[in-house]
Symmetry: C2
Subunit: 565 residues, 2 copies
Amino acid sequence: MQIFTPAKSSTTTFEKYESLIKEALEAVHKREHYSPFPEMPSPADYGEGAEAAQKAQFEAQLGAKFEHLKQSSDAWLESDEESPFTGKALKISYPAFSDVESYIAASQKAHEMWKHTDVKTRAGILVETLQQLKSHFFELAFATMHTTGQSYMMSFQASGPHAADRALEAIALGYSELTRFADRVSWEKPAGKFNLKLEKFGMNVGRGLALAIGCSTFPTWNTLPGLYASLITGNAVIVKPHPKAIYPIAIVIGVIQNVLKENGFDPNLVLLACDKSDNQITKKLAEHPAIKIIDFTGSNAFGNYVEGLPGKIVFTEKAGVNSIIIDSIDDLDAMAKNIAFSISLYSGQMCTAPQNIYVPESGIAVKDGHASLEDVEKAIVEQTRGLVEHPKAGHAVAGAIQSKATMERVLKAKDIGGKVLLESKPISNPDFPDAHTQSPVIIELNRDSRNLVKGEMFGPIVFIIPTKDTNESLELASKSARECGAITCGAYTQNEETMQKIALAMADASTAVSFNLTGGIYVNQNASFSDFHVSGGNPAGNASFTNPEFVVKRFVRVQSRIFVK
Amino acid sequence: MQIFTPAKSSTTTFEKYESLIKEALEAVHKREHYSPFPEMPSPADYGEGAEAAQKAQFEAQLGAKFEHLKQSSDAWLESDEESPFTGKALKISYPAFSDVESYIAASQKAHEMWKHTDVKTRAGILVETLQQLKSHFFELAFATMHTTGQSYMMSFQASGPHAADRALEAIALGYSELTRFADRVSWEKPAGKFNLKLEKFGMNVGRGLALAIGCSTFPTWNTLPGLYASLITGNAVIVKPHPKAIYPIAIVIGVIQNVLKENGFDPNLVLLACDKSDNQITKKLAEHPAIKIIDFTGSNAFGNYVEGLPGKIVFTEKAGVNSIIIDSIDDLDAMAKNIAFSISLYSGQMCTAPQNIYVPESGIAVKDGHASLEDVEKAIVEQTRGLVEHPKAGHAVAGAIQSKATMERVLKAKDIGGKVLLESKPISNPDFPDAHTQSPVIIELNRDSRNLVKGEMFGPIVFIIPTKDTNESLELASKSARECGAITCGAYTQNEETMQKIALAMADASTAVSFNLTGGIYVNQNASFSDFHVSGGNPAGNASFTNPEFVVKRFVRVQSRIFVK
């Protein structure tokens, strides 16, 4: 007897992607390097002329209606987006509903069919959306650049291949969890002269409607994991992007809706619900009783509000204070160069960027003997100055400042009370003379001025904090991670015992440590399939890309049974 | 380089139990019948003379200090426990601290070593505790009987083998999750002419201190899954039993503390924290900032309070209203007999016991043609009467009533406003003439009186609710599951389409359905390794014994990395 007949799509695409899904799942478990979507914008991988064509598409989109969505709507909403590189409004209009209830109703309707669709069909369709997204990676890059202020290269990588990697990771782990237990069981229990028999049928039930709340700096990279995790587990998703960064996620949603429609599903299964800065609908959506799951990336204040909503399954990435602990190092300049890059990359607007650098007052051991605190400070300052003043590398690494608030924060930082070691200056960008740029400010906070700074100072603002010794550095970094949250921690030490001590103490504060980075890898970078992004164990966020918890909380398992005479 | 040196116990017992853990894990995934702890109290399995010896131990324990704990304490607390079978106080004293902070401090100290102990050592030690617990199953049975009112057989099975099964299930799934990802990875990423290299080290970090809050009816069965899930994932646990049911879990904790000590660990890793009914310490413990995880079984009011505590990872099993939907049946009497047993078993004091039975007003199809509503009612009433009035089976199935509140509820139920089909009466028990017993009351609620009952009426109280048809029955049962919660649902139908409809609609309310139970299996029974207990998707509870979510939320994964030149 068949109780649960899986709903079938018209075009089943699971077989097409079965080997990719299994390969991705193996990578998830092995944590080795794996990268199915090429990260360089090369014509060999993405097609001759694709970049130029999509650049033209981007330019044509400015000032126009975004026509690539297949969702229901009753109005056009002109967004508040403006380019940090040109300072100009994008003037793009997106389809919208004029009330929250219409989003909920459309989402619920689309959910009916999807929730009873078998996981293989869902997995196939979702991987197909990523495959189709590949042919939009350049447009995505321009859209991301001109909303977030990321440089072109980072925009391409973060919003395109790296976001798709994270989405695939969520699909693969979701597929694994949904198929983990036998779903048809002939249960037989000896009971003396005869056996008791039951036929059991397992079924996974999505929690219902999900809300994905986007941020202004990584509009696809931070949204795709939750979006795809909710979809693979049988939920419908309403995406509420940041009002200043809609275009990139709109491209993704357009592709998803298209694939859904091609496969006979209601495209409203994933809805773009955008709004204006002065009239946001986020709370109305989040508090709606039909919304069961919320994914959020953004500020602590709003993140704590979302986490406190009763009866919701909530996944957050909030703010953290990331530390670097300098104990000893082989090559001082190589270390300083690595740190300079880390603090300059996207002008410190990555959630993984370091903020507080702890250095013993007495200096550190280096290859040639000893470097004083001043030597360490000077090395970091010089390497940073060299990078941001480099005519080509400077703006290519730093990009632009996304928001007015960040710009004001960095300009005011010099007055905070510490000793300014490096002042913040505009970074020249020949391609975009009006770009909103500002190089990192580096400030020393001595014992008396340490308390002037509490928590995160988002943007290119860096503090060097002299300490009694590495033990105190570790104590401060670990306390800060526990109390203010942390997503990353860098450490430099040539002593194995110290390394173990730092790793353990920071692990107890749920923070991973990157040791002795001196080459082309930076503390800011977390690799899909290998590095878990955010641990979920300190105030920087309660979720992790992508661990099992990130998918299993999105559905429940119901196993019914039939008595067999 | 080795960053994380696992702490080693003096006696590593993993190898001893490796095959059992792997067998259990395979069973968890296959969901077939599996039962490593024999469920019958037979001398062949548990030793000749064991029952008599442990009965004597139980009798000697009454009125005495419980000396089998190895935990720190500063006082003896005489409990409020009393036997529902004799009506007498047990007058057992347990070691206690006079303030909550002392429990926290002792727990934190014990946690230090355990949290850095490798998972294999933890798994071995935990399975060893279950093996040693086997030689206490008879004492556990007497202790359970004389605190909960369960019959002797149920006390043996529920508190002994079935609880141990559930504990093993949690250990096995925890072991699987903790060893799921590679914990040592040589990561290499091609970067043009050379490869970028990192050595990565994974580590699982328990959330910290856990609190397990027990209930009065299943003091070990409901507590062991969370207790063992917290332990295997690296947390310390404080167990706060119900003030009326301490003895059974004290036996378990005594065994665990003994094994911990034997293996060189601090026995305070699992602490009994008991209290008196009029001076409970539950809220003080639950709200303590050091408590990170809470497992709770009990009332909706307290469960909702616990779920609402900010910053805690909470697992609850609360109250639900379980339904039976009668649509059609082959053998009316066989069905009625099965239902009679289900509602009489432990006098309806199981969280899985049915309460509301929906029957179409026009009657149902049966093998011989048609049975009217009255025929169905009569069959259930007669079978129930026959069972509870049976001189041997009656008290053996029904046991005794655990609390005064339940006793008052069942005595008042006849005045609720419905039509009483079967009155509740004391059930005679020749072994215990003073036992607090009361047979099920069965009440018909017609269309006008339906609203007289809202939510759970805990105890042997059953309502037969006539409906327009099975569609309305399903609508009411599904609505009730969504709004009031449900842990089980029974259904009788000979129509495959109706079966599918019921299964799907109840699955959407996160409730598993048992179809056409007429033999020796009852809707109340959930089998370890095969049936998930509580779905976690409706108000009856937010957790499930034992799905992956039940273990993965108890720890975070931190993966550090070292740059390789």
